[in-house]
């Protein structure tokens, strides 16, 4: 088992803030727009260092997305940031026409995604955003797993030409990936090689998947852990290669079942191997602590272990 050490809990949104600042220092084309959540989405340092390149749209997300498309048309690289729900569902039509159909060089910085937004409750906890964004032709969907990877994914998104949905979260979570490893859009990161079961995860659940793999190792089960940091485009060949080897799959995500990574992988593998799913099901969230919600919604490492055992048991003999 590859050893990962939590070097100190950090929020992935701060990784975005750090990445945006680094990218902006290197590339004068980068501009940023906010909708009254500048500090929440960690654009404050950018706004302070580059006041001429920062545009406040107020609580008017639709206008923010449209203005970003216009800035991008003139050759700028435009980041717009808000809570995941307000930059996906609330502005879906704007994102669809201006960014996806318009092939705009705009990056949607989607913070506070998933159930770990926590105490604010279901109105703010989007568990459907991946489904919405995956459905758009030409949209790249990225969900890095920790602070370090979010810094690198932000740099990669800034370099990439085209619309990107970059999803990250609110709470401080384990930080464990190599801070110097550049992010490759479209790459599946093999966190731990294994032969008995493939555990595919993204975002905060990659750490949970690694905890589960350790627990499985104690039971003599060798789990391959994949960090699916790019959900679209999905590297189907890499997935098939892993599953051909392990013969069983668990997909773990902080998202509902409909339209999530689980469905994407099920479609890609089309019955190639038994699959189990860790997700929010078909439910809204509720107020609570991130760890309490993970437990209640069955997204913690214990549930991943149980799902892996179940998937393995269903392998054809």
């Amino acid at each position: 088992m590859v050893k990962y050490t939590d070097t100190g809990k950090k929020d992935t949104r701060s990784g975005f803030g750090e990445g945006l600042l680094k990218a902006a220092r290197a590339d004068g084309r980068i501009v940023a727009l906010a909708a009254d959540l500048t500090s929440s989405v960690k654009m404050g340092a950018f706004a302070k260092e580059f006041p001429d390149r920062f545009f406040q749209s107020g609580i008017a997300e639709a206008n923010m997305v449209g203005a970003a498309a216009g800035l991008a048309a003139t050759g700028k690289v435009a980041f717009c940031g808000s809570f995941a729900e307000f930059i996906s569902g609330r502005v879906y039509d704007q994102v669809r026409m201006m960014l996806a159909y318009g092939r705009a060089n705009v990056k949607l910085a989607s913070s506070h995604a998933g159930i770990t937004l926590g105490e604010d409750g279901a109105t703010h906890q989007t568990m459907e955003d991946i489904a919405l964004m995956r459905a758009l032709p030409g949209m790249t969907v990225i969900a890095p797993c920790d602070y370090n990877q979010t810094v690198q994914a932000t740099l990669a998104a800034a370099r990439y030409q085209g619309p990107v949905y970059l999803r990250f979260g609110r709470p401080a979570m384990p930080n464990f990936t190599n801070p110097d490893e550049p992010f490759e859009i479209g790459k599946i990161y093999v966190m731990n090689p294994g032969k008995d079961v493939t555990i595919a995860a993204y975002g905060h659940l990659v750490w949970e998947a690694l905890q589960a793999a350790e627990a499985l190792e104690a039971q003599g089960i060798n789990a391959e852990v994949l960090n699916i940091a790019t959900i679209k485009p999905l590297d189907v060949a890499a997935l098939r290669a892993s599953v051909s080897k392990t013969g069983a799959v668990v997909v773990a995500e902080e998202h509902n079942a409909a339209g999530g990574l689980g469905e994407a992988i099920a479609a890609a593998l089309a019955g190639q191997a038994p699959m189990e799913f860790i997700n929010g099901g078909d439910r809204f969230g509720q107020s609570g602590s991130p760890s309490g919600l993970f437990k209640l919604y069955g997204m913690d490492s214990d549930h991943i272990v149980a799902a892996a055992v179940k998937a393995i048991a269903r392998k054809k003999i």
Partner: protein, 279 residues
């Protein structure tokens, strides 16, 4: 300088193009295209600083135009082609399979002259504001023009853009509204009253100019007045008639999104002089 007589002649040909395009596609939106024909003719042939042969999607070094009311594609395509952005023969492909002239403007097909898609209403003014900001940031002194519909102004995003452009003092943004008073379900005032659009824009901190959208002298004066760098975005309200130029379409909202049949098309064309040669 293009004379008013020349502008009138171009506008007549543009109206013929609109009727012929929509008629051969057997669908499309003639009403608003005809009401905004004179304004767009003046803009493209006498107001905008643009060079079609050197046009890039970024519009760098040129004035830009954004069509927010995307269903006015027929008039947009006609003024683009007649200005030299692409061959006028292509106008006959409107709405056909494989055409660059999609039902609503698209950037996917690479049609020169189009920087942004439109069709879902209310979004273009925000994007035009963004383009104007982009030009300001890049030190490009050119302007961004944006055409909205009066019915379209029922969209909330128009007013979000209104606050944004005034707050950021985007004075290189010159928006204009085709106030023909009609939308699909009837008169704008009977559908959801816009009341006084001029007062609304004034209260949003914009400079407001009102003009007759079928009188070239009035149109040119309005664009001239809107040129100053005074820290305010500009909104010109052009008062027009839906279906202008074709008697049976004038002020009739049935012609918002309906193609004339062959006989109606012939009647319409008999009222519009061919001045530059049909495509």
């Amino acid at each position: 300088m293009v004379s008013i007589e020349e502008l009138s002649a171009i506008a007549s040909q543009v109206r013929r193009d609109i009727i012929r395009m929509v008629s051969s596609a057997a669908c499309g939106h003639p009403g608003g295209s005809l009401s905004s024909t004179d304004v767009l003719t003046a803009l493209f042939f006498a107001v905008m600083e643009h060079n079609p042969s050197e046009w890039k999607i970024s519009t760098e070094g040129q004035d830009a135009f954004v069509l927010s009311a995307g269903h006015l594609a027929p008039v947009y395509y006609s003024v683009l082609a007649r200005s030299g952005y692409f061959p006028v023969s292509e106008l006959g492909t409107l709405r056909q399979l494989g055409s660059r002239l999609q039902g609503h403007p698209s950037v996917s097909e690479g049609l020169p002259g189009i920087s942004l898609p439109s069709g879902s209403l209310g979004q273009g003014l925000s994007a035009a504001a963004g383009m104007a900001l982009g030009k300001r940031l890049s030190g490009d002194p050119h302007k961004v023009y944006c055409l909205c519909g009066d019915g379209e102004s029922e969209e909330g995003q128009i007013w979000e853009a209104g606050m944004f452009a005034a707050h950021h003092k985007i004075d290189n943004l010159i928006a204009f509204t085709d106030v023909n008073g009609l939308q699909i379900d009837g008169a704008t005032d009977s559908v959801t009253a816009l009341s006084d659009l001029g007062e609304k824009w004034l209260s949003f901190g914009w400079e407001v100019i009102e003009a007759d959208g079928h009188d070239f002298a009035s149109i040119l004066d309005a664009f001239k007045l809107a040129g100053s760098a005074n820290g305010k975005p500009k909104m010109i309200l052009f008062h027009t008639h839906m279906g202008q130029g074709v008697d049976f379409m004038t002020d009739n909202c049935e012609w918002h999104g309906k193609a004339p049949n062959q006989q109606q098309s012939e009647t319409a064309l008999s009222q519009l002089k061919e001045t530059l040669g049909d495509y």
